[in-house]
Symmetry: C2
Subunit: 430 residues, 2 copies
């Protein structure tokens, strides 16, 4: 049985794997199992569980066990759990834990959501610049257990101002009498606590470091964002981009831990907004109703044309959302990008036009074939440019570029695409 | 001037930042700057550059400088660069570097693309199980420079079989006479070299470790995948999912380093495939042409209905692509997921139907309003189920679920949605 397997993994101290298997059980089974483990075992498994499952467990476990588990989490992980819970429950948990842990947690909760401050650990081991390597290693041996990481050690002056970081690797490999000051890595700059979490994560990624120092406005060290948090941040940001590319809000929790109503909730606003935009197409078609009545054949190609335009726009939009999120392009590159994308769209449209010419000719006649081919070129060029322009413009006015998703671009381009189609049809057919 | 700024950053040993600024210069300027730095400085900057820019530089620099730079890379990063280059150039570079480095590089190139073996470093520092902590630390001090990481130290027996890993943190904090054996972390299992790179990255993420051991079929240690590579892997996988969600292949390189033709290339196959699928809609409409001629008003709602269906399908598809990629759902959950998604779709469709009823009634009469409302419910439920089914089915038959992207689902659902629309219209109107 699955519960037995989890217990075995716990015995073998494979806590991460145990937590993964645990997530396949029902919430009640998860709680039962956690309740039956020793305090330490339960804590070791709990810290590897996804926040959503931690929350389910917290609602089911005994008060005593819950407080032990919440207390055992690193402060930044604790914050992640508390921000998912109703305010009253979160407050009750906070008052139950030790004053030191409570103070650290409240401080982190004081920083804006999705800021570097929310993701840092305040449990670091500061070194003094004039300390020797021998001294520093002794200090790590003595107090290392209380720190979340000892691989990146911040160096601070007497007032707590950040001076730089030293890597444990350098300490271990240097002469015992070397001063800590001389081992500082000049490549690592501190990040303000109010900075976006993604910047902290990208800094860790681009400098191949294991933790990024976080400071206040006066340059005093507040904490460290560690590489495991950086991975989770980039993963969340990727989920956000992907969900919005599909026209929905990210769930931020495992699929099966979310109710059907909540699933619908993550989609409803988008679907409504898109439907309202699509009403534009009804009005465009209304304007051209007479043309449509005269040549009903035109209606047959409407889905094909608007799909192709939509796809072309979605392609350039996702390319640019990604390029912006990793910092490859800036809104200031606007016109250069627009030109590139329009050329790509016209290239693709011309190719489609060439391929479609003969089949459409045979199916609906020469004139309709001309109309369809010309519309393909115009629509693809236009859609590609619009698909690039919207995320760039969104970023410039401070909206997440990912809202310029495939569905949004598609719906936006449909109405304008239809106008091109009927104008070209009128010009060629009448 | 920008070039001066890069030089200043190099002087200050801020190599990662220097590499980032460097990427904003033209390829010729980048090469000029790298050529003018000392061998060591150039190597320090080069290793932080994106593979695409490294490739541009390699084509422009003097033979001597190129060999120094390529030789200075970690073997796994070198492989990443070589696999981007034409085979003849890659071979010439390989023959130019030292035999040891060449041998390590060739071994990595022997593993399949996107496998864990391609991303591991063969430069690790193995410990023996009976070694003392004092011994192990002395060994790190002596040979640590040659290893890519000393934070995770693999323990192997005399034949090189993997026994477990020890964290540097544990070594530093333990008594000098402790045996290495006693410090092994039981939570970390090795990964076969032929395993998918994403599994290695997810293992590092879920166990919060800094490196994952990679072994051959006999359980002998081959190398370590380090956390910085894990971050890059997850980032690439995220880019892949996002690009396909937008109906294009990932570029895998910075936006401006890619030519317009290559941009079009990443999109053309998708756009063509989608256009061919969209031909279905033309045929469906052809079947119902008579109905359409009798009631042209029906044509006005075609874009609105197929857009809404497409959006609804895209939402559930991206949700499931994500849920599968992080391992939250399995293809075996097929029917449970289908039911959930159909319910979500019907809920959303009913809501849209209720909202649209009065406006459509006023715009096009009561009967058309009924047709549109009923079609919305059916299309949303259907689209949501199909949107979930396609990525699940794709995974089961071994295709990347991300190909079941928003554009693909949209185009697929359009044709079937139109059938529902006209069948409902015929039943209600005639």
């Amino acid at each position: 049985m699955e519960m037995l397997e989890v217990q075995q993994l716990v015995e073998q101290e494979q806590f991460a794997l145990a937590a993964e298997h645990l997530s396949r059980l029902t919430p009640d089974e998860q709680a039962e199992l956690l309740e039956n483990l020793s305090d330490n075992q339960a804590a070791d498994v709990f810290k590897f569980m996804d926040t959503a499952y931690q929350e389910h467990a917290v609602r089911r476990l005994s008060q005593r066990r819950v407080l032990r588990l919440v207390e055992s989490l690193d402060p930044d992980d604790r914050v992640r759990l508390l921000e998912q819970m109703p305010a009253t429950l979160a407050r009750r948990l906070l008052t139950g834990i030790s004053p030191t842990e409570r103070r650290m947690t409240s401080e982190l909760l004081g920083y804006p959501r999705e800021s570097a401050g929310r993701y840092m650990t305040p449990e670091f081991l500061p070194l003094a610049p004039t300390q020797t390597v021998r001294d520093a290693l002794a200090q790590i041996r003595e107090k290392g257990r209380t720190a979340e990481t000892v691989y990146v050690l911040p160096v601070v002056d007497d007032e707590g101002h950040f001076l730089g970081v030293v890597h444990l690797r350098e300490l271990v490999m240097s002469e015992p009498d070397t001063e800590v000051m001389d081992l500082i890595d000049p490549g690592i700059e501190p990040i303000p606590a109010t900075e976006d979490r993604e910047r902290a994560a990208r800094l860790i990624q681009s400098t191949d470091t294991l933790a990024a120092p976080v400071v206040d406005a006066q340059g005093r060290l507040l904490g460290l964002v560690t590489v495991d948090d950086a991975m989770d941040i980039l993963d969340r940001e990727g989920e956000e981009d992907l969900a919005r590319a599909g026209g929905a809000e990210p769930l931020n929790r495992p699929y099966f831990s979310v109710s059907v109503l909540r699933l619908a909730g993550a989609r409803v606003v988008w679907l409504l907004a898109l439907a309202v935009t699509a009403v534009l197409t009804v009005n465009v078609l209304k304007v051209f109703e007479e043309t449509l009545e005269t040549v009903v054949t035109l209606a047959l190609f409407i889905p094909l044309l608007i799909d192709t335009g939509g796809n072309s726009g979605a392609q350039s939009a996702t390319t640019l959302v990604r390029a912006m999120s990793v910092g490859e392009v800036e809104p200031s590159d606007f016109f250069r990008i627009l030109l590139r994308e329009a050329i790509v769209g016209i290239l693709l449209g011309s190719m489609l036009a060439a391929i479609s010419m003969i089949p459409v000719w045979l199916f609906a006649g020469k004139k309709i074939a001309y109309v369809v081919a010309l519309t393909l070129v115009v629509i693809c060029g236009w859609a590609s440019a619009v698909g690039a322009a919207v995320p760039l413009a969104a970023r410039r006015i401070g909206i997440d570029p990912a809202v310029a998703s495939a569905p949004f671009i598609t719906t936006l381009i449909d109405a304008t695409g239809l106008i091109f189609y009927f104008l070209i049809a009128r010009a060629i057919l009448f």
